[in-house]
Symmetry: C2
Subunit: 356 residues, 2 copies
């Protein structure tokens, strides 16, 4: 078990040794550790190695100039200058929040970025400003459109954070596939089968084999098959891709660059890097803030008191599981599996940082 | 078979006889017929009776003053004055488009409205202005959150329309449930079973009986069950509800008023009427319009050329099925089933309008 603070300091040191500024390293460490706290370890410490390898192969800019390249009163396009994704994303969300201050809402599309960790982090940045936060990102292609076997889209997540008064905020943060890529990887490592509705083989037949992705298979969109609404998951994932990439001038769909160094740089590019999309909406651009937040309390209390199905204890509000994970993990500490610990030991040794 | 023009004129006459202005009646007829043309008959002529009955029981305002009650440079809240939904919705989307002209984007939350037909109609209003259009609405409660048996949400649709250059526009318009309520009703009338994943019984057990909704059952969110991501459908449906109702001051979740006169007015209200949410985003607030639209052509061509699964002929782009339906129906005419024809005959007779 590691304390939150220990891993935060360690992560910051890793990125500083890679040449990132102290400010950027703090942002990066904050997002990695937020993923761990919120119970999304698949986007936490396990990903440090990916960035380390990208850096070693010269595929990341540790000294980026993230800047606005186009704007209107309520919008901007940000060029991430091939930064570590967290750096480009945090700056972009700050621009969205600034725009919202004067225009009521702010909308920022970001190109030339990289994997940014958990989308919910940026959406939640809006909360303390009495704003609603929104964050979308595309990701490297693993998912097939309905009726197709081609890997055209990432697991393209959507995050929306909405403040309340006495209740904790409403925070939705979910991939537009039935399950996350990380959970398939875990099942694969354990040699386990998965339920149908998650992946298909290279001909488009349903499969329960998580390793099928290495044999020409692909992930399915939310809904699973056409009968159960996979075309709606395809719509969602497409919208995330277009908002993240076509709005910004990043690579879309199958051209999104890989976020790991062991996959080669793609031959064809249709834009710059990975794309994200951010939104900030001032509550009082719609309703007096106190009134809105009190109404959100009522919404949350109403939904939390819905009747559980037989065998279920309670009905959750989006954000409940992550908040409860955070309370627990802050107390108990963060557990790293041996494989990740070993990766971090190697990195620490190579960079001459303490880690134990 | 009826021609488009015949049913358009008839529908306009019905609403004019009910006391709506010529302008409002034209809007209402235009939306009803757009649903028929786009192959969504469940939102077309079949719904005229519902409005007629609401009008007869004095539950609709045919002479409304739809007005902005709160605004910022990029946002507004519109009070629909209990208008026919199409009237409140069209005006609201016009406000969003006007806001976008000056602020880059425009966002309008609407309260005190009613059922507005197909969400895609309003999203598509943005296209000819070189804008992206967005439309959400809540609806009367039939859908249970994950782990619950309480009917807390409507089938809360999401529509997003994005212009292209030589390709037809990208138009997604979908309920946040695996299938539409109308399709369950059709199966029920035919005495057919449905696939599991659509509805559950009053204890929360999966059911294949579409009539279960009349026995305390409920519809499931997109994803179907927790394992297959129903919590993501619950997130989506919640977001639509909050944006439509909490932003605007309309009724949320279980308090959304019924859109048919045979269901009583609800005892408790937490706001005014039904709520909608509209967005308009000027393309050139992000990219030069020609460049953006040409990139959308490339996006569409790339996705349309993805490889079909075995047994499938082609991969569709959101909006393809509706556009193809429209081409066919404009040529062949609109077919009305006997039950709907009979309803319309009764209305025509009572209002002293020709219909045959």
């Amino acid at each position: 078990m590691y304390t939150y603070q220990y891993l935060l300091d360690f992560t910051r040191s890793v990125f500083m040794k890679m040449g990132c500024s102290e400010e950027h390293s703090e942002t990066i460490a904050d997002v990695f550790l937020a993923a761990e706290l919120r119970g999304h370890a698949s986007h936490g410490m396990i990903r440090i190695k990916d960035y380390y390898e990208l850096w070693k192969s010269g595929r990341i800019n540790v000294n980026p100039l993230v800047k606005i390249v186009h704007e209107s009163p309520s919008t901007a396009v940000v060029d991430g200058d091939n930064a570590v994704g967290m750096v480009a994303a945090r700056k972009s969300m700050e621009v969205a929040i600034e725009k919202a201050r004067t225009a009521g809402t702010g909308w920022v599309a970001t190109r030339n970025s990289n994997h940014f960790g958990i989308a919910g982090y940026y959406a939640m940045m809006a909360l303390k400003h009495d704003m609603i936060g929104i964050c979308l990102t595309n990701a490297n292609p693993l998912v097939a459109p309905t009726f197709s076997i081609s890997r055209m889209m990432g697991t393209n997540p959507i995050a929306v954070a909405i403040p309340a008064l006495n209740q904790p905020p409403f925070v939705a943060d979910f991939a537009t596939t039935p399950i996350a890529r990380g959970k398939l990887a875990v099942a694969e490592k354990k040699g386990e089968k998965v339920a149908t509705g998650f992946v298909q083989d290279k001909t488009g037949k349903p499969s329960d084999d998580p390793s099928i992705l290495k044999a020409g298979g692909s992930m399915l969109t939310l809904g699973g098959d056409r009968l159960h609404g996979s075309h709606k998951g395809y719509c969602l994932s497409s919208i995330v891709d277009i908002f993240s990439a076509v709005f910004s001038g990043a690579n879309f769909g199958p051209f999104v660059p890989p976020s790991v160094a062991y996959l080669p740089v793609l031959e064809k590019k249709v834009g710059d890097g990975t794309g994200h999309f951010f939104g900030a909406m001032r509550i009082d651009a719609f309703q007096p803030a106190a009134e809105f937040k009190s109404k959100m309390d009522e919404w949350i209390e109403t939904f939390r008191s819905s009747k559980p199905a037989e065998g279920e204890e309670r009905v959750l509000i989006p954000g409940d599981p992550e908040r409860e994970a955070e309370e627990r993990i802050r107390k108990e500490g963060i557990d790293l599996v041996p494989a990740i610990r070993k990766d971090l030991e190697v990195i620490a040794k190579e960079l001459n940082i303490d880690f134990d």
